[in-house]
Amino acid sequence: MMPAGVIGQLRPRALDRPAVVAVELTRRFGSRIAVDGVTLTVARGQILAVLGPNGAGKTTTVRMLSGLLRPTAGGAEVAGFDVGTQPEEVRRRVGLMTDVPGLYAEMQLRAYLRWYGRIYGLSAGRAASRVDELVDVLGLTDWAHSALAALSRGTQQKVALARCLLHDPEVLLLDEPTAALDVEATIGLRTLFAGLKDAGRAIILCTHNLAEAERVADTVAILIGGRIVHMQSLREAGSWRQCSIRLTNPSGLDVGAIAAVPGIDPRSLRLENGTLMFACHDPVRTNPAVVALLVQQGCGVVQVEERAPSLEALYVSHLREAGRANG
């Protein structure tokens, strides 16, 4: 948890609306569409994890939301400011952490952070005191006078996090923040993210690490080919159960009739290698009805299973679907 002094009060006007609202956010580079109609909302005190393979458009999305790139179409409001028309205001309120720490190797840690504090518009005195606070909170005191090149990768990432917290941003955009970190450093950063979330900061976390997303995020979005193909609250996901029924004769299956069974999520219904799979809230009620219907259709039920759906299974199924769609 972060001490209260390190994270300031949010502006009153900022509290009544979501920290990030993107509507049909699109970015083209020549003929290539990097981000294609991304729509998302992140409330204050929420963490949205954006999952996706390399080249899915995560970095471009983050760059648009941080006011670095203008959208080609659609738009986004971050901390109450439009990314297309008020990028400097957006950048003033956003902290961006990239997968590479991006530090000036020969500068000393404290001097570097003070310099960045001044770049972010803090007075010399305010920058110095802010740096002292962050160095203390992030456990960087031992390295305060060390050259940045001499620090371990984990410590460098902490310095990068300190840099993006210097101006006490309302929104944090973290692009692969734990890439190449050891377990201890990852746990440390995760604790910090939780503290920031508790302090009302909205966080967008782009990651390949599904376990990390499951641990820290409130909502996950799966981004493939520049489009959000799936978005759900993890709390909501926790109440769903993944059911699978192995059949001896799937040829007689009437999927439409199964989809009409109350409690089934019809979008989740699919037949894979003779096994019918679907998601439902209450398998105790839903499964007997489905089994009865399957027997009626002459499908021959061999085995019924139900378990909590994993993010990994969901992610992999979306990747496969995207792969099939692309031929």
């Binding site: 970095t59 670095l68 400097e88 720490p101």
Partner: protein, 238 residues
């Protein structure tokens, strides 16, 4: 302005801080005058070498002392952006709430100051070492010496601006170095022109030359800022 000054100071710190770096710069600033003075020494000792001939030669060499270290500043200017790309430091800098042009101006000023100060340092070294090494009095008038030194910033501006423009879109240091080498062709041509085809100098010619040269510098700066476009630079996510 504050961001420009902060970036300039940081970049200058990178160039001039540290004993090793300062040592290399001093070596560069002293080695060049020393080589030229040693070459001049034997000629200056000859009784046939008149004061007029010496004055003419010293004027040209003294001007070149200010121009030649410029290559170091041009290389720094050309690779400035690419170095940051390779180190991954440019994105955090651009994510700060400052205009994109502030980054360009900060880097330009740093390279410009580096070029001018190295040029003046080399000229100073040449001036100081001249009499002890050649056993002759400094043959150029004080006003001409001052004018040649004062011309260094004017001469530096377009070269550094050109190097910045050439390097502003490079994402790799090697590519930026290749680009900047194009500018060396121009600098070499200019030096040769000064040495071998000195036009008759008049006050109006100098005024026109200075105005034209500065105008060329401003044009190159404008092109550089246009080329240094955040959108273009970030248009190819890694």
């Amino acid at each position: 302005m504050r961001t420009v000054s902060l970036i300039t100071r940081r970049e200058l710190g990178e160039v001039f801080e540290g004993r090793g770096r300062v040592g290399r710069l001093i070596l560069l600033g002293v080695a060049l005058p020393l080589i030229f003075l040693l070459l001049l020494r034997s000629q200056a000792a000859s009784p046939e070498y008149t004061t007029d001939r010496l004055r003419s030669a010293v004027r040209a060499i003294y001007a070149q002392m200010g121009i030649m270290p410029l290559s170091a500043a041009m290389a720094a200017a050309a690779t400035s952006f690419a170095t940051e790309f390779e180190a991954g430091t440019i994105i955090p800098l651009l994510a700060a709430p400052a205009p994109t042009s502030a980054v360009f101006w900060g880097k330009f000023l740093s390279a410009f100051i580096t070029g001018v100060s190295l040029g003046w340092f080399a000229q100073g070294a040449f001036l100081v070492l001249f009499s002890p090494l050649t056993q002759r009095a400094w043959p150029v008038s004080a006003s001409a010496t001052f004018l040649i030194s004062a011309a260094i910033p004017v001469f530096t501006l377009p070269f550094v601006a050109g190097a910045m423009a050439l390097g502003s879109r490079a994402r790799r240091v090697k590519a930026a170095q290749t680009n900047s080498s194009l500018a060396f062709v121009v600098i070499l041509a200019a030096v040769l022109l000064v040495v071998f085809r000195r036009p008759p100098i008049s006050a109006s010619l100098i005024a026109w030359a200075v105005a034209g040269w500065l105008g060329f510098g401003v044009l190159l700066l404008t092109i550089g800022i246009r080329l240094w476009d955040r959108e273009e630079v970030l248009g190819h996510p890694d």
